[in-house]
Structures are given as structure tokens and as C-alpha cells.
């Protein structure tokens, strides 16, 4: 499973938008290998049937589609605000 651990560290961390320091990379290598060993017990288990995305049967909890007023400011914690907009770094 060594290849997988290496792949996870190098490739997946980039996809996950995390930049690991050399120190983190070194420390995580064995830890991730150990956890993957644990996860491989699931991968190698013989199990059929339906997946349980939820643990309890419940009806769809959508609320009525009508406008509701916020009694709080959704931008209260935004730092880079211009008027009623949030300023972001360039997208393209």
C-alpha cells in the first residue's frame, strides 16, 4: 500500500488545496499509511446490499419555498466587502 500513501500525500493533498510543509509531509507519510491499512479492511470486506447514506428513514425536510427575511447581516463577518458585495481574488 506504500504507493497509495505516497499518491495520497503528493497528488491528493494538491487536489484538496492544501500545501504541506516538508515537515508535515514527513510526519504524515507513516500516519497516512497506517490509516490506509485500516481503511483497506473495508476495501477487502465482502459486502453486498444497499448503502446507507442516512441512518434513519425520514421524510424530505424541505421547507415551503417562500422568501424569508434575515434578521442578521449575512456579511457581518466578511472582511473584503464593497457595498453589498464580497470582493474575491480573480477567478479567471
Amino acid at each position: 500500500m506504500d504507493a497509495d500513501a505516497e499518491y495520497v500525500l503528493q497528488h491528493v493533498s494538491r487536489l484538496a488545496r492544501l500545501q504541506l510543509s516538508d515537515e508535515e509531509r514527513q510526519k504524515f507519510a507513516k500516519q497516512i499509511r497506517d490509516v490506509l491499512d485500516l481503511f483497506n479492511k473495508v476495501a477487502s470486506a465482502n459486502v453486498e446490499g444497499e448503502p446507507a447514506y442516512h441512518c434513519i428513514e425520514a421524510e424530505n425536510g424541505l421547507r415551503p419555498d417562500k422568501p424569508v427575511k434575515f434578521d442578521w447581516d449575512p456579511l457581518a463577518n466578511a472582511k473584503h466587502v464593497e457595498g453589498k458585495y464580497i470582493k474575491s481574488p480573480k477567478i479567471v
Binding site: 491528493v12 493533498s13 500516519q31 497516512i32 485500516l38 481503511f39 470486506a45 446490499g49 448503502p51 434513519i56
Partner: protein, 436 residues
């Protein structure tokens, strides 16, 4: 108490109680886990990425507690986003166990349990569990923790860890205290799409033993060699005592327990890795300066890299992996199938018995010096007794039954979905045996 045991990340500067003659919690101090939003009061979820976050609203559970005359005394220390078993992964100090400050309060709701154990006041805590974060700290501090059925308590205003697993619950000094707070915070909330349409229930009515003899199941996998033999012995002694009092006891089997830990961690990390994408550095939380040259990708990466702690990074990376194209079937989907099997095994057990009785944690509260030596995979193994009921969304009450060398030994009483009444009733009977 804060200086000695550090249960809080933030302490209220002043407390306002709105009391009426009908209030259920008149003047009661309530500690709130720091991943539950409190209006005007910093809410960090134990993470640097939310260091300065002050919510402009109260979570539904906080609003409900305040409406019943309670006052929020502080926000309790926790593992970052709930990622831990000992509350040592907190960016703002580690809570110490009031029974022995060299030992952990457990996690991830460590501060919530620590605050209840530390103060000689009728204090209660609003806590939260994803895979055992109420049972574990309740067990390590000798307090009572109720993890309700998934969906019984609104999650609106909770900083989510894993949406299909998170449950807000309560910790108190007695079964009655924890049940009273649950009665206040439970109930349907249209703001939470997963909220169950239940009737308001007074759970304290179940905290008075009425002589009814419940059928008790003992899941054999929860008494294995992975559990400290002293703890097993205490729980077996309790079972014998119940038997001699006329309770019907039956051994049951939950065979998928052996896969519960990797199954739980695959599901919870998969969900956490998508959940934490909301910390984009734009609307709230850590927001860095940027210039015209920087693009959103670089900015997003920088915010996450600076804001998340070590365990959060590990879980994001692993959770991204387990749900990636090419790996999803092997890990995430398979784990969901095992979860289904786990739920079915619980349902089969509850066709025969009213409640399950088992040790709450496999170890006594460890010393911080022992915790330091553990690797992440070893820490995950500590959740062997709690992840399965949590994955199945079954209500659980954890309570102390004795001491070994001065350290608390606790059991968990597990019931079927929405049968918290039975779990509270059984817990109350056990509490009564210990002289309360």
C-alpha cells in the same frame, strides 16, 4: 475553575437570564460546545480558521435554552471541528480532567464534560457527537451524557463535521439534568432539513424509575479483549446485579463491530473533507489580504493551509481520497454498505431487547503524557465502542457506575431510534443502584 482545568475557550462577560414562572431552566448556567453558534459570542470550533468568528445569530438549541431561562456561561474547549478523542487537537488550550488534571477529559466535547464535572453548581452542557464525542468525555469525567437519535435535535447553527453523523446532545451531573436539557433542545426545526418531525417530549418523566423491567441486551463484541479487563468486570458486575433484581438479560451479537472503526472514519472523513470547503476565506473565518495578481485557487489554498490544524489536514486529505473517482467504490460506497449492515444488526438486537448495555470506553481516562505517544490510527481505535451506535444514529446515555483507582468507569445504554425514553429509564435505574 477555568484557571485550573481550562474547560472554556471563551467565557461570557455578563449573563442575562430571561426567566418566567414557566421557565424550564430558570437561571441555569449552560456551557455550550464551541462548534455551536452563539450570537455575539466567539465561536471557534477549536480551529484557528474561526479564531475571530462572532456569529450574528444563535443556533436553534441555544435560542431554545435561552427561551427557557438559561444563561450561556461560556464556550467549551474541543478538538478542532470535533477531530479527536482527547480534546488535545484544540487550537485554544486543552481542557484538563477535574478528577485528575494530568489526565484528559476525553473528546471531542472535552470542555463540555469538564465544565460539568468541575463546577459545584447545577451546570449543564450542550455538547455534540459525531462518533462518540459525548459518551467519551462523559465517561472520562464521571458525568452523564445523552447522545440523541440522529435528527431529534436541530443542527441549525452547528459548525458541521459530518452531516450524516452529527448530533447535538447534552451532558449533566445526573440523568435527570441531562434529560431536562434534552427536553428543552429537542424537537422539529424547519431550518434543519434532517430534523425529525417529533412531538415535544418531557424526557425527565423517564428519569424516575417506575419498577418496569426492561429487557437488557449485552453485545458480546463490546466485552472483548480490546476493552480494559477492569472495566469489563465492573460492567459484568452491574449486569449480575440487574439480573438479581429481576431484569431479563440476554447476550446479543453485533458482528460488524470489527469493521466499525474504518467504516466510521471513511464516512466521517469523506463528509468532513467536503464540509470544510466552506472555509473559503471570503464570507467569514480567516480572511487574508490579497492583491490583483493572486488568483482564487492560490488564495483558497493559502487560507486552508494557514487556518487548519494538523489533524484537520490529515482528515481532509484522507477524506478527499476515499471519495475520489476510482477509489470511491472501494472505500466510501463500501463503508456505506457496511453502515447499512451495522444499522440492521442493531435493529435485529432491538427486536429482542429494549436496550443494550455495554462499557462506554475501552480505557480509563489516560494521562496526557500517554496520549502524546499515540499515533492517529491508535487514537482512532479508542472509539471502538462508540462509533457503531453513532453511525446507526441510535440514542445513547453514558453514565458512571464505579471507580478504579479513583478514575470513573462508565457504561453506555443504547436504545433503538427515538427510544431515548427507554435509554434514560434504564440509565436512571442504574444511577439509582449507585445511591443517587
Amino acid at each position: 475553575m477555568q484557571a485550573a482545568y481550562a474547560p472554556f475557550i471563551s467565557v461570557a462577560e455578563s449573563i442575562r437570564f430571561e426567566i418566567t414562572p414557566q421557565s424550564l431552566l430558570p437561571g441555569v448556567p449552560v456551557a455550550v460546545k464551541d462548534n455551536i453558534c452563539t450570537k455575539g459570542m466567539r465561536t471557534t470550533a477549536g480551529s484557528k480558521i474561526l479564531e475571530n468568528y462572532v456569529p450574528p445569530f444563535d443556533a436553534t438549541v441555544v435560542e431554545k435554552a435561552k427561551k427557557e431561562g438559561a444563561g450561556i456561561v461560556g464556550k467549551t474547549a474541543m478538538d478542532e471541528f470535533g477531530f479527536g478523542t482527547f480534546s488535545t487537537n484544540c487550537a485554544f488550550g486543552v481542557p484538563k480532567n477535574p478528577l485528575d488534571p494530568e489526565r484528559s477529559c476525553g473528546g471531542s466535547s472535552g470542555g463540555s464534560a469538564g465544565a460539568v464535572a468541575a463546577f459545584k453548581l447545577p451546570i449543564v452542557s450542550i455538547a455534540e457527537s459525531t462518533g462518540g464525542s459525548i459518551t467519551c468525555p462523559a465517561a472520562f469525567t464521571g458525568t452523564v451524557g445523552i447522545t440523541p437519535t440522529y435528527g431529534l435535535v436541530s443542527r441549525w447553527g452547528l459548525v458541521d463535521y459530518a452531516n450524516s453523523l452529527d448530533k447535538i446532545g447534552t451532558i449533566g451531573k445526573s440523568v435527570y439534568d441531562a434529560a431536562l436539557l434534552l427536553s428543552v433542545i429537542a424537537g422539529y426545526d424547519e431550518k434543519d432539513a434532517t430534523s425529525l418531525r417529533t412531538q415535544n417530549t418531557d424526557y425527565t418523566a423517564f428519569a424516575k424509575p417506575d419498577g418496569k423491567k426492561l429487557r437488557v441486551g449485552l453485545p458480546k463484541e463490546y466485552f472483548s479483549s480490546a476493552v480494559d479487563s477492569g472495566i469489563v468486570k465492573e460492567v459484568e458486575m452491574l449486569a449480575d446485579r440487574l439480573n438479581s433484581l429481576g431484569f431479563e438479560l440476554e447476550q446479543v451479537s453485533l458482528p460488524s463491530t470489527e469493521l466499525a472503526i474504518p467504516t466510521y472514519y471513511i464516512i466521517s472523513m469523506s463528509e468532513a473533507s467536503t464540509n470544510l470547503a466552506k472555509f473559503s476565506g471570503l464570507r467569514y473565518g480567516l480572511q487574508l489580504e490579497f492583491d490583483e495578481k493572486q488568483n482564487i485557487e492560490e488564495y483558497f489554498t493559502k487560507v486552508r493551509t494557514e487556518g487548519f490544524g494538523e489533524e484537520a489536514k490529515r482528515r481532509i486529505i484522507l477524506g478527499t481520497f476515499t471519495r475520489m473517482a476510482g477509489y470511491k467504490d472501494r472505500y466510501y460506497l463500501k463503508a456505506l454498505k457496511i453502515r447499512k449492515r451495522i444499522i440492521n444488526e442493531f435493529k435485529q438486537a432491538f427486536a429482542k431487547v429494549d436496550v443494550l448495555l455495554a462499557p462506554a470506553m475501552p480505557i480509563l481516562p489516560p494521562k496526557f503524557s500517554e496520549i502524546e505517544k499515540l499515533e492517529p490510527a491508535q487514537v482512532y481505535m479508542m472509539d471502538i465502542l462508540t462509533v457503531a451506535p453513532n453511525m446507526a444514529g441510535m440514542p445513547t446515555v453514558a453514565l458512571p457506575i464505579g471507580r478504579i483507582n479513583g478514575l470513573p468507569v462508565s457504561v453506555q445504554v443504547i436504545a433503538d431510534h427515538l427510544q431515548e425514553g427507554k435509554a434514560i429509564q434504564m440509565a436512571s435505574i442504574i444511577e439509582g443502584l449507585n445511591g443517587r
